[in-house]
C-alpha cells in the first residue's frame, strides 16, 4: 500500500467514524440505554464489591451487607497485607514489576526489530519466519512450559528470575503487532532516502525507525506487560520458592491456605487483590490511547 492510499484510507475511516444515528426513535434509544446501563452495572459491581470488601475488618466482612461500607479499615488491611510474613507481598509486587517490566522491554525491542525486518525486507525464509509467528498462536502453553521447566532445571535456572524473564523475550504476538505497525507507519521511500544519504541499516533502525514506531512500540510493550503481569501457568511451574513468586501466584497461594491449613486469609486476599489491580489500572488508563489501537488493530488485520 502506498502512503497516499494509506492516508486516504485513514481519512475515510475518520469520516466513517461518525455515529450511526440508528434507532432514532425515542423508544429505541431508551431500550439501548437500559441495555447498556445494565451491562455496565454487571461489569462494575464486582469491582465495587471488591473495593468495599477491602475497607472492612474481618467481622464486618462476614456480617455486614457486602455492597455497602461498614467501618473504614482499608489502611489497617493494607498494612496487614504488606507486613504479613515479613512483607512477602512487597517482594511479590517487586517481582511482578521486574518480570513484566524488564521482560516486556526486552521482548518489545526484539519484536520491533523482527517486525521491521519482516515488513520492510525481502529475504529467503521470510515467509517461514512469519509462518512460525502465526502458527505459534495455536501451541498450548503446557506443551511449551513443561519441557522448558525440564530444560531450565537442567541448567539450574528453575526458581530464579531468569526462568520468567527469558521466555518473555520471545513473544510471537508482539512480533505480529510490530510487523503490522511497521507496515502502517514506516514508508519505503523514507528508508530509501536514508540509504541514499549513506546511513547504515542499524543506524536507520535505531535513529529513524524506532523513533517513528514509538506509538506502536508503546502498544506492544503495554500488551506484553499486561500479559506477563497476568501470567499464571508459567510462574506456577518454574517458580518454586515463594521469594520469587509473582502477585498472582502469591494470591493463589493465600486463597488456598484455608483449605490447606485452616488459616482464613480472605480479608488479606481481597485487599491484596485490590492492590494488585492498581498498577494495572493506572497503566491502562494512562496509556489507553495505545492499548485501544493495539487491541483493535491486532484484530482487524
Amino acid at each position: 500500500m502506498t502512503l497516499i492510499e494509506e492516508r486516504r484510507n485513514a481519512h475515510q475511516v475518520r469520516r466513517l467514524n461518525k455515529p450511526d444515528p440508528a434507532a432514532r426513535s425515542r423508544g429505541g434509544q431508551r431500550f439501548l440505554l437500559v441495555g447498556l446501563v445494565l451491562a455496565s452495572a454487571y461489569s462494575l459491581f464486582p469491582v465495587w464489591w471488591l473495593i468495599v470488601a477491602a475497607t472492612k475488618n474481618r467481622t464486618s466482612l462476614y456480617q455486614s451487607n457486602g455492597l455497602w461500607f461498614s467501618g473504614m479499615h482499608l489502611w489497617a488491611n493494607v498494612r496487614q497485607v504488606f507486613t504479613y510474613e515479613n512483607g512477602i507481598f512487597l517482594r511479590w509486587t517487586a517481582n511482578s514489576f521486574l518480570y513484566a517490566g524488564v521482560g516486556s522491554l526486552g521482548g518489545t525491542l526484539i519484536a520491533l526489530a523482527t517486525g521491521y525486518g519482516l515488513a520492510r525486507f525481502e529475504f529467503p525464509g521470510r515467509s517461514a519466519v512469519f509462518a512460525c509467528v502465526v502458527g505459534s498462536f495455536l501451541i498450548p502453553i503446557a506443551l511449551l512450559t513443561l519441557p522448558l521447566y525440564l530444560m531450565f532445571s537442567k541448567i539450574g535456572l528453575v526458581d530464579t528470575p531468569w526462568a520468567m524473564l527469558i521466555p518473555c523475550l520471545i513473544n510471537p504476538f508482539s512480533v505480529y503487532l510490530a510487523k503490522v505497525y511497521t507496515e502502517a507507519t514506516v514508508p519505503f521511500e523514507l528508508l530509501e532516502a536514508a540509504r541514499l544519504d549513506g546511513a547504515g541499516e542499524l543506524r536507520i533502525f535505531f535513529s529513524i525507525v524506532l523513533r517513528m514506531m514509538t506509538t506502536g512500540g508503546a502498544t506492544v510493550f503495554l500488551l506484553a506487560f499486561v500479559n506477563t503481569w497476568n501470567a499464571f501457568f508459567l510462574p506456577l511451574t518454574v517458580l518454586r520458592g515463594e521469594e520469587n513468586w509473582t502477585l498472582n501466584i502469591g494470591l493463589y497461594n493465600w486463597s488456598g491456605k484455608r483449605l490447606e491449613s485452616g488459616v482464613d486469609l480472605t480479608s488479606l486476599v481481597l485487599t491484596g487483590a485490590l492492590l494488585s489491580i492498581v498498577p494495572m489500572a493506572v497503566m491502562m488508563v494512562a496509556m489507553r490511547r495505545y492499548w485501544r489501537t493495539g487491541v483493535t488493530l491486532g484484530a482487524l488485520k
Binding site: 469491582v47 451487607n65 457486602g66 525486507f121 529467503p124 498462536f137 495455536l138 521466555p167 482487524l300
Partner: protein, 294 residues
Amino acid sequence: MIRSQRWKGAAFTVPFQLGFVFLYLIPIGYAVYESLFVEHQSGLGLGGSTQRFSGLDNYQQGLTDSAFMNSVLRVVLFACVQIPVMLLISLLLALFLDALSSKAAGRFRIFLLVPYMIPGVVAAIVWINLYSPDVGPLTPLGKVFGLSWNFFAPSMVWPSIGNLLTWHGIGYNMVIIYAALQGVPRDLFEAARLDGASEFRVATSIKIPYVRGALVLTGMLSIIQMLQIFNEPALFRNVTPQTVNDSFTPIMIIYNQAFNAGNYHYAAALSVLLALILGLASFLFYRLTAKEAD
C-alpha cells in the same frame, strides 16, 4: 532489493529466530521425544529408574484414558455453550454502542472494559468470593427471591465459571466487534433505510454480516483459550476441591501428571495430544465458518 541489503534485513530477525528455536522448537521437540519413553523402575526401585523407549504407548494410553478424554469433552461442551453466549452479548453491546452518539458510546465503552483490566486470577478471586456463602452478597440476594443457590455445587460449577469468563471477556470481544462495525460504510445504512428497512433489519442484514470476520476471530481466540482453561478451575479448587477435582480440565491433568505424579513422559504425551486437539478444533471451526460464508 540489493543482495547485501536482504541479508541485513534478515539480520534484524535473527534474535527472534534464535529465541524461537530455543524457546519454542527445541522444547516442542524435547516434549515429543520424551513422550516416546516410559520410566522403568528397576528391581525393587532401589537402583533408581531407567528410561525405556515405548513408541506410541503413552499416546495410546492417553487416548484411552477416560479421565483425560472426559476432561476434553467437558471443556468442549462448556465451550459450545459459553462462547456463543459471550459473543452474542458482546455483539449486542457493540451494536448498541454503534447506535449511540460517540460521546455516550465512549463513556459506556470504558465501563464495559473495566473487567478486561483485571488480571484473570484476580477476577476469579473476586467472583469466588461473590459466590461464597460466607462473604458473598449473592447468597443473601438469592434468599430475598426465595432461591437457595449454591454456586459451588457440582451442577453449578460450570455455570459459575461460565459467568466469570463471560464477565471477564465481553468487554474485550465487544471492542473488537465494535471496531469492525466502525469500518462499515455508513452510506449502506442510509440506502437500506431509504428502501424502508427497519433498524432490526439493518442490523441483521448489513451490520452483522460485515463484522463476521471479527466474530470468527474472537470465536477462534476464545476456543484456543477455553481448551487450555486452567486458572479459573485451579482457583475454584481452592474452595471446593470435591467438585473441582484435579482432573477437571486437560491442563490440570497434565500439570498433575508432571508435578504431582511425577510422570513427565505421560504428561508430555498428553500435552502433544492437546496441541493436536487444539489444531483440529481450530481447523473445524475455520471450515465451519468458511462454509457459512458461501
